[in-house]
Symmetry: C2
Subunit: 209 residues, 2 copies
């Protein structure tokens, strides 16, 4: 039974982190060795980069290309120090976000050429793609409702963006499905939390067995 | 009289910074508007990146590709915030180092494909090349002598490298002359400091007039 690499993606407030924690707990209960990680970050160098690239203080000065390079520098360290060693040790990797967010933020939203961003991201991950990216998706209305109601602390320069940004991000995530055939599975994020977990857990366990 | 963009390159201890300061003073005396800058750095984001990428504490963990992306992220901010505005304001730019060091360190020494590094550097600078790169060069023996005698504080993870690294770097700088035809001028860095300044100042003033 080979370990696998799963990513949870989607807009702010779609429930990525909640689902990731529930799935981690369920997999551990079933006896699967698993690690949880997040992008960007998870390494000493990566966390320092994260603190530069996401700091709201740079929101008006940091250039799209600089963001792209910083996210991919952190990503490369993360692939090298976290993901590859975990897979090599037989552990399944669950990650909160991936290069897909870079495709959406730096290309779809900030306008850098998609093929260039795609190629750079593939270089940063040494060609190691997830076995599956679960794209949690909720309607624009539900997204707006959750963003308004969110009590989470807003700490990054993306958290403080307005509704138009998050709506465009949703559009951008959905547009990636066709670019990466077979890689991304859209998951309806509006049902009961348990139903969503069971849905993804079923796929994950069958891929791990 | 259009402003120009000059870069001073070469190994540690060849006298780049000394010459740059002397030429800055001479140009100011002659009434040329000039700014002095350095790579990586010179911007808020860039200085933060610099402190991550050059910190000796990461010497064993930071990957070549991560270094490449970090240097180019800082470079892009620097081009956008420092070089382009200065040139647009009619000021001549003198820079301590440039993308040439990245070609040498991340490609020639650390082994990343030269065409990829070259293309990424050109993207980072938005295609804005210096009017001239002065490559200060001293013999291997002289380089060794100066490195041993240097009383400068060693603060970056490159400063603390051994002689073999610096010898290879010299080889790498000389190898770039053919890759960038007409851009790089090798300057003999072993003569009296005044002769070296006069040599470069002559070229610079004629290009500015």
């Amino acid at each position: 039974m080979a370990p696998k690499f799963f990513v949870f993606e989607g807009c702010e407030a779609v429930g990525k982190t909640t689902q990731l924690k529930r799935i981690e707990a369920a997999l551990r209960e079933k006896g699967f060795p698993v690690i949880v990680t997040r992008e960007p970050g998870g390494t000493v160098v990566g966390e320092k980069i994260r603190s530069v690239v996401l700091d709201p203080v740079h929101a008006d000065t940091i250039q799209p290309l600089a963001s792209l390079l910083l996210f991919n520098a952190a990503r490369h360290q993360w692939m090298h120090e976290v993901v590859k060693p975990a897979l090599a040790a037989g552990k399944t990797v669950l990650s909160d976000r991936s290069f897909l967010t870079t495709m959406v933020y730096q290309s779809y939203i900030e306008g850098i050429d998609a093929d260039f961003v795609h190629a750079l991201c593939m270089k940063a991950v040494d060609g190691v793609l997830p076995d599956k990216i679960f794209l949690l998706d909720i309607s624009d209305d539900e997204l707006q409702r959750r963003l308004l109601g969110s009590r989470e602390e807003k700490t990054t320069r993306y958290d403080i963006k307005g509704e138009a940004f998050h709506r465009k991000a949703r559009e951008g995530y959905l547009a990636q499905v066709a670019r990466f055939p077979g890689l991304i599975e859209r998951i309806d994020g509006e049902g009961p939390v348990e139903t969503i977990t069971d849905n993804m857990l079923g796929r994950i366990v069958s891929m791990l067995s």
